[in-house]
């Protein structure tokens, strides 16, 4: 059974969100309601406060518990979206994925849950524009560097997109020219996870 450093993943995720909370808020002020940084901070701080309890759970249950904490604490749409991602991943993988194929399946279940929760898909200027390419890279057997690149390219692509979901959809064409804040937070989290796994 693969041992996943859940506790370090939680700490790395919270550290990344804390370090970039103001940036997320600034991005969200441009095309959303300006609460993404604070909401994510509230959610990930709550997860970190429960890190010991979460890290003591089996892989799948740990993800579900972290996801539920985000759902209950974030206070914006990103709570159910990130929460659904983690809860679906936890349901798909009771035990930590033992290889890249299995990891791609588990992440794939999470991505599908985000699509269903947000009634959205790739190309709508959302977190899916980062998560889906990352999942595709994993499914294609990409190494850590290529996974990071998939996240970065996905994020960069959101700048030219016109939002059709969430608050940014009200802006229509005016949403073009801004990075999507949810895609940015997803890229931050992908990087944080890659950093931890690389150190392992």
């Amino acid at each position: 059974m693969t041992v996943v450093p859940i506790r370090r993943l939680i700490e790395a995720a919270e550290t990344a969100i804390t370090a970039h909370a103001e940036e997320l808020t600034a991005l969200d002020q441009a095309i959303g309601d300006g609460d993404h940084g604070l909401n994510m901070l509230r959610g990930f701080k709550a997860v970190r406060e429960s890190a010991e309890e979460i890290a003591g759970l089996p892989f799948g249950k740990a993800l579900q518990k972290a996801g539920m904490t985000l759902v209950m604490k974030v206070g914006g749409a990103s709570g159910p979206l990130y929460g659904s991602l983690l809860m679906a991943m936890g349901k798909a993988g009771e035990e930590a994925p033992g290889d890249a194929t299995r990891l791609a399946e588990v992440v794939g279940a999470g991505v599908e849950a985000v699509k269903a929760r947000g009634k959205s898909d790739v190309g709508a200027k959302t977190m899916l524009d980062v998560l889906a390419p990352v999942q595709a890279a994993l499914a294609g057997g990409a190494g850590i560097a290529a996974v990071r690149a998939a996240a970065d390219d996905g994020l960069a692509a959101t700048e030219a997109m016109r939002a059709t979901k969430g608050r940014a959809a009200f802006l229509g064409e005016r949403s073009v020219g801004h990075l999507d804040p949810g895609a940015r937070s997803s890229a931050l989290l992908v990087h944080a996870v890659c950093d931890v796994l690389e150190e392992e």
Binding site: D33, D35, M72, G75, A77, S84, R117
Partner: protein
């Protein structure tokens, strides 16, 4: 009291949620049960799944609960809260795709007459100002 559909109002703002509920009570009276919630857990603007869940539970009836929401996250968080109810209860709770204030008043007016949940929601959704 359980022979009418209940109304739940979910806004990003606690003031908007309370104000909408006040309007429903004044215009429709007390026979329809109305719960409301708004704001995140820190008292700022936002919506809180736990608060939505307890608002729904506070007025839940098998006759049904119509939920009125304002913007994006209010809808996503309300969907999440509904899924967290026991399945047989969640089936009796619906989000109305209608403006929050007008929709709440129209839904409550229809509910007061004893209409079923589908009719209550349709009335709110058909409302054109």
């Amino acid at each position: 009291m359980t022979d009418t559909v209940s109304i739940v109002i979910v806004s990003h703002s606690a003031d908007v949620a309370k104000g909408a509920a006040d309007m429903v009570r004044q215009m429709v009276g007390e026979e329809v049960r109305v719960a409301f919630c708004g704001g995140n857990g820190d008292g700022g603007l936002g919506t809180d799944v736990a608060a939505i869940l307890s608002a729904i539970e506070s007025v839940y009836t098998p006759k049904g609960v119509a939920v009125l929401v304002d913007l994006g996250g209010a809808e996503t968080n309300s969907e999440m809260a509904i899924e967290m109810l026991p399945e047989e209860q969640g089936a009796n709770v619906r989000i109305c795709n209608a403006p929050i204030v007008e929709g709440a008043v129209m839904a409550a007016t229809e509910a007061a007459g004893g209409a079923a949940l589908a009719v209550v929601c349709a009335t709110a959704e058909d409302f054109q100002s």
